[in-house]
């Protein structure tokens, strides 16, 4: 094969650029701006939280987000959300509406109820989780023994042909249940007990489905009887939850059945129709009413008080079939009847159930809730009665845990009262409390139920109450905690704030056990953060340290201490203030378990990255942050998870980026030196540091407008040296390559040619080490695409790098070619040939008189050699070799389908390069091009679309000035049609 020599086309880059320019038009608007949503709709509780998270200005690690300064749609969105939020801060938007709502409005939408009231279902799980026992339980019922059930099934199969039979059958069934078949199951563990109750539930449903209404009722009654028994009292709340679930099922079944029965035939149609959703009693047919009445009569004759009340409450909804407005009457009556329950715990849960049912069927009826509470208050003395004391003694339960059993029920009742209640309700209740029973338990529930605004307005009053209230077993620290929670959600009146803090802290300081102390302190620390200066916060931190240090108490309370930190962080965003508190770092020092400490450090840095919007060089911040980052950094070892490493790396990088010494560049550099010393283990940080230093160099250049003084030039060299030293310690090879390239570019930019040379040399000598496979996101991939893109970038840079006078012509490029020649390429791809083709393009640019781009104040080869003949000859010989190499490579491809395909693609690419960069006027070049074209056609594997577009390109060129050779070439190019 003849050797082809490369002739590059002479080009006028400036002229071409001019020609290609699109018509431009001046614009006054940012094109993305209209996309910004100006009205924000609340999605819901969860949604708002997510938004809040999003809203944090500019994630530290993404410098791009500031690109759209201010008008970024996301931050706009969040800003609007924040504006829509009521001043109460963390409160959800619905509760903000509550105050403005008309309180007397009679009709309350059900949906609304569910939203603003914490639903029972969510409490249920909580209760079940908290109130457990390891004691043995017992259950008394007639429905569980398998033998019995069989009997029932047999009975139900008996054909009930006549009514008398049916009645007889039912009576027999009743007898069955009453005669000794009631069994007591003893020694059940909690799980077994729960299982039994679930069995009862399914027994109820199946009995109902088998049309054994009496049995179903019996089950319901027996279940509610379980609630009379307080033998394993710690389990009582959970038992309540389980049993009331069954009762709810029962109530629903009864209601649905009557509803089904009461389908009526509307005038004018023949099809029976089910009652509408909100029917009136007039629509209910007499027969359904009769059934309904029967149920109530049946239940009214239940002998025992507690089952009677529970079961009636369960089917309360059925009153809607009989009359309107029965609810309030029935609820109030049941409330009164609850007074007959002697055991205060049983009573209060009964009341809670009533409140729950009331809330579900008639949220507009409110009087019974408050009556429930008052009755509870009135009978409060029962808690001290001998009976209760005996129970406690028998079950070896102390008073505080006993009182704790009351909280779920009381909380629920109070929540129902507080729901859409006016403020004076609270006043009224407090008055009643003061008069009758100033008990910690009640007070606590009140505080957690009512709106924080109401509570905080009365903070002083509450404090008095707390101080005076008899402890009676309910630990007071809970009270302070609740109060604190309220005050944080809603700020108390300005003039009381300091007073409150003083009073509270005085009391909190007196708590003896660290657990009590820290549980209060954890909540209250947020208060001074919100309303006072750092001095108060510092004092409190100091106090916490003092309390937690003896006996290393902090070891048991890391969680609380951590929450203290996060609360401080959420309130104090000025880090110069935060770090200048002299107790903050000692506080952090209390976390002596490494994992916790790192966690805390992460929290702090996260907040720092998020909230420190301005770059800073405050020595206090820098020192403290370096200390914290160092802690995180030092926690990393060989066993650290990749994820953890990444998170910490990102956080430290974020911190590094936030530090700026303004125009004191040297200081900045020395900071980077220090940071490198401290964080040498994390690649991400090192990369950031190198980038920062490069940025520093670039900034210096901008400042000097490209003309360096001696001092700045020296500084630039220092920067380059820094990068040069730092880069090798990074482990990722591509990161290293890219950084070398970028650093070299920066050095060039600053006229530090020898430094740039060094960088490029380093990069070239690194290339042989590039592995053919790399892992990205735990997947092994070929490194070739990355290498290709890097090389192309590198080649483009090399165009403007002037030759070093001490070395030969095109020293760097030759070096690169040598390396590429020896590099072990993947034999399945044609990367090598492609790179050579790219190199050809670079050479053609190099042989021009004026290069397409230059670096300010750097003389590239074009001005160095001025298209010297020797230089051009040098290029020509090299290109000849390259062309030969490429053609050889094409030849060497395997002679099969795959090989042909690759050959065709490669030839097409080569052809393309020739047409664009080469000089077709030259005979040999034209011949080479045509040969290549034919090669693509030969085996019919060329990409038709690509070929057509290239053909069109050539034709187009043929029409222009001096396009004759192109036209000739186009004339010879045949496009083979596919068969």
């Amino acid at each position: 094969m003849a050797t082809y020599s490369w002739k590059s086309r002479t080009r006028n880059y400036e002229g071409e650029k001019e020609k290609l320019k699109l018509e431009s038009e001046e614009t006054t608007n940012h094109p993305l701006k209209p996309l910004v949503v100006s009205e924000v709709k609340k999605i819901g509780r969860d949604g708002s939280k997510k938004e809040k998270e999003k809203s944090k200005p500019a994630t530290p690690l993404d410098p791009l987000s500031s690109a759209l300064d201010g008008s970024d749609p996301l931050s706009m969105f969040a800003a609007a959300a924040a504006a829509a939020k009521p001043s109460s801060g963390g409160l959800d938007p619905l509760s903000g509406n509550m105050g403005t709502d008309d309180i007397d409005s009679g009709s309350v939408d059900k949906g609304e109820v569910e939203e603003s009231l914490e639903p029972w279902a969510s409490r249920k799980a909580n209760i079940l989780a908290i109130y457990t026992t390891s004691e043995k339980l017992s259950i008394t019922t007639s429905f569980l023994s398998p033998a019995d059930r069989e009997k029932v099934v047999v009975k139900s199969q008996v054909a009930q042909s006549t009514v008398t039979d049916k009645v007889k059958n039912r009576l027999e069934q009743l007898d069955d249940f009453e005669e000794g078949s009631v069994k007591e199951m003893l020694n059940l563990s909690q799980q077994e007990y729960v299982m039994r109750i679930e069995e009862l539930n399914s027994a109820l449903v199946s009995a109902w489905e088998h049309d054994q209404k009496v049995k179903a009722l019996k089950i319901a009654i027996q279940c509610s009887k379980l609630l009379v028994d307080t033998s394993v009292i710690q389990f009582y709340p959970s038992k309540f939850v389980l049993v009331t679930d069954i009762l709810d099922t029962f109530g629903r079944l009864v209601f649905d059945r009557i509803r089904q029965k009461s389908s009526y035939i509307p005038p004018g149609s023949k099809k029976p129709q089910v009652l509408p959703e909100n029917f009136t009693p007039d629509q209910v047919p007499e027969s359904a009413k009769e059934t309904c009445r029967n149920w109530f009569f049946k239940i009214a004759s239940i002998r025992e008080l507690i089952p009677r009340l529970y079961v009636e409450a369960a089917i309360l909804k059925c009153y809607s079939f009989l009359t309107t407005g029965e609810y309030s009457q029935a609820l109030n009556r049941l409330t009164n009847q609850m007074r007959g329950i002697g055991d205060p715990l049983v009573a209060v849960y009964g009341r809670a159930y009533l409140s729950r049912v009331g809330m579900a069927v008639a949220p507009q009826v409110k009087s019974h809730h408050i009556n429930n509470l008052y009755d509870f208050i009135n009978s409060f003395s029962q808690l001290d009665s001998d009976t209760v004391q005996n129970i406690l003694a028998m079950q070896r339960l102390d008073m505080p845990s006993y009182l704790n059993l009351y909280s779920p029920a009381l909380d629920w009742i109070l929540q129902c009262i507080a729901f859409k209640a006016a403020e004076n309700t609270l006043t009224e209740i407090l008055g009643k409390c003061k008069k009758n029973c100033n008990n910690a338990l009640l007070l606590n529930s009140i505080m957690s139920a009512f709106k924080p605004e109401f509570v905080s307005r009365r903070a002083i009053e509450f404090l008095e109450l707390i101080k005076e209230c008899e402890e009676a077993g309910f630990p007071k620290h809970n009270l302070y905690r609740s109060l604190g929670t309220n005050l944080i959600l809603a700020a108390p009146p300005e003039q009381h704030r300091r007073n409150i803090l003083n009073e509270v802290w005085k009391a909190v300081m007196k708590f003896q056990t660290p657990a009590e102390y820290i549980s209060c302190a954890e909540v209250w620390v947020e208060y001074p953060c919100k309303h006072f200066s750092k001095k108060e916060v510092n004092t409190i931190l100091n106090d916490i340290i003092k309390h937690m240090t003896p006996d290393r108490a902090f070891e048991n309370h890391y969680q609380e201490l951590q929450s203290v930190v996060s609360k401080i962080l959420s309130q104090m965003h000025d880090f110069s203030v935060l770090f200048s508190m002299d107790k903050f770092l000692p506080f952090i020092d209390m976390f002596q378990k490494d994992s916790v400490k790192v966690e805390v450090c992460k929290q702090i840095m996260e907040s720092f990255c998020r909230h420190q919007t301005e770059p800073t060089h405050d020595p206090v911040i820098v020192n403290a942050a370096i200390f914290i980052c160092k802690t995180m950094h030092d926690s990393i070892d060989a066993l650290t998870l990749e994820d953890e490493r990444r998170v910490i790396g990102n956080l430290i990088s974020g911190f590094v980026r936030k530090i700026s010494f303004g125009r004191d560049f040297e200081q900045q550099l020395s900071f980077c030196v220090e940071a490198r010393g401290s964080f040498s283990n994390i690649d991400a940080v090192l990369i950031t540091l190198v980038q920062c230093v490069n940025q520093l160099a670039a900034e210096t250049r901008t400042l000097m407008k490209g003309n360096h003084s001696r001092k700045t030039a020296a500084f630039i060299r220092a920067c380059a040296a820094y990068s040069f030293i730092t880069i090798p310690s990074i482990s990722g090879i591509f990161e290293r390559l890219k950084l070398y390239l970028v650093s070299g570019q920066v050095a060039m930019l600053n006229q530090a040619l020898s430094q740039a040379d060094a960088f490029f040399k380093a990069a070239i000598s690194l290339i042989p080490d590039v592995p053919s496979m790399i892992t990205i996101d735990n997947k092994t991939r070929s490194s070739e695409p990355f290498l290709m893109s890097f090389l192309n970038q590198f080649l483009a840079t090399l165009l403007v790098v002037p030759d070093n006078p001490e070395q030969g012509v095109l020293y760097l490029l030759r070096g690169l070619l040598n390396v590429l020649q020896d590099y072990v390429w993947d034999s399945n791809t044609d990367a090598k040939a492609r790179i050579y083709i790219s190199v050809l393009a670079v050479f053609s640019a190099m042989s021009q008189e004026v290069y397409p781009y230059h670096i300010y104040k750097v003389d590239s080869n074009d001005s160095l050699y001025g298209s010297d003949q020797k230089f051009i000859a040098e290029i020509t010989t090299t290109t000849e070799t390259l062309i030969k190499q490429i053609l050889d490579y094409c030849k060497g491809l395997p002679q099969n389908d795959g090989g042909h395909k690759r050959q065709a693609a490669l030839a097409l690419e080569f052809f393309h390069t020739i047409v664009v960069h080469g000089d077709i006027k030259d005979e040999s070049m034209a011949k080479l091009a045509l040969n290549l074209w034919n090669l693509t056609q030969k085996n019919g594997y060329g990409d038709t679309k690509q070929m057509t577009s290239i053909l069109n390109y050539v034709k187009k060129h043929g029409k222009g000035f001096g396009g004759k050779p192109y036209a000739d070439l186009a004339g010879k190019m045949h496009l083979q049609s596919r068969t």
Binding site: A300, S301, R308, Q337, D343, S381
Partner: protein
């Protein structure tokens, strides 16, 4: 297989004197039904039974008092013939009017006194097939125009001193002194009650030295049957409703609320032959099974 059924027009089967009992007799069959006619018998009567306690076993067994007929009537609703396959409905009507000078008492199911109204359908059939019968009970209630219940509040206080009938507990020395100290106050809102409205009132346990187990309301019927040998009076419990469970709080007002059960109660009746009265017992059961009970006769009516 043919079935015979009676369906009354009113679902709740409740009628008043002077009204018309209306309904249909339903014959349902897949094949033809040959029959010798269907008759409908309406019957209302007071059944009296003497308690063995008051008159002795022998008399009780033999001297059962003759039932008092209040209402009788026979209707022929279908002449002998044949029903076609399917469902045949034969409507009927019957005016409810008491026999002679009597009046239709309210339906009442008691122990010794039973006031019951039934309608029975009999289908006579040829020799080979069995006769068919169906009985349905219907309920008679007074119209609302009867005697109005007046509100007569009954306050009460029970203390050891107020007790009349202290049964033997331990040794026979001063029984009352041995009793634990207690004071139970309360009020029944009225001793004359409307049967459709619940009995209401309240009980307050002012003090009680021993723990209380239960507070209950007992509804008692007092049935009196007159006969040749005099009369027998028997009190039996209808229902017992608990209003206080466990050691109830002292000084708190516990409401009394009891719904009068249907069928087992009726407005108070007094005739020459029999009498049905009702009483309320308020019972406080204390630990150690002390039981205090206070009795209140009440009169029931419907208005």
């Amino acid at each position: 297989m043919a079935t015979l059924d009676i369906r009354l027009k009113r679902v709740n089967k409740t009628y008043h004197e002077g009204e018309v009992l209306a309904g249909v007799v339903i014959v349902q069959s897949k094949t033809d039904v040959q029959h010798q006619g269907i008759t409908l018998t309406i019957d209302g009567s007071v059944n009296l039974q003497l308690s063995s306690k008051s008159v002795g076993l022998f008399e009780a067994f033999y001297n059962s008092v003759k039932p008092i007929q209040l209402l009788t009537g026979v209707l022929q609703v279908a002449k002998p013939g044949k029903f076609l396959p399917g469902k045949t409905e034969i409507p009927f009507e019957f005016p409810l009017k008491a026999k002679g000078s009597r009046k239709l008492f309210e339906t009442y199911h008691g122990v010794f006194v039973n006031i019951q109204y039934t309608v029975r359908a009999d289908m006579k059939r040829s020799l080979l097939a069995k006769d068919m019968t169906k009985t349905v009970e219907f309920i008679i209630e007074y119209t609302n125009k009867g005697a109005k219940a007046e509100t007569k509040p009954v306050p009460f206080t029970i203390t050891p001193e107020s007790l009349q009938n202290v049964k033997e507990v331990g040794n026979k020395t001063n029984q009352k002194a041995a009793l634990p100290k207690f004071k139970v106050r309360g009020k029944l809102d009225s001793s004359s009650c409307c049967i459709t409205k619940p009995l209401t009132g309240h009980v307050i346990i002012d003090e009680c030295a021993v723990p209380i187990k239960s507070v209950e309301i007992q509804l008692v019927r007092v049935e009196t049957c007159g006969c040749a040998e005099g009369y027998a009076r028997d009190a039996t419990e209808i229902q017992n409703i608990q209003i206080g469970e466990g050691d109830v709080c002292r000084g708190i007002t516990i409401p009394v609320h009891m719904v009068f059960p249907r069928l087992f109660t009726c407005p108070t009746v007094a005739t020459t032959n029999f009498k049905v009265d009702f009483e309320i017992n308020i019972v406080v059961v204390m630990k150690d099974d002390y039981l205090i009970s206070e009795n209140f006769p009440i009169s029931l009516c419907r208005n």
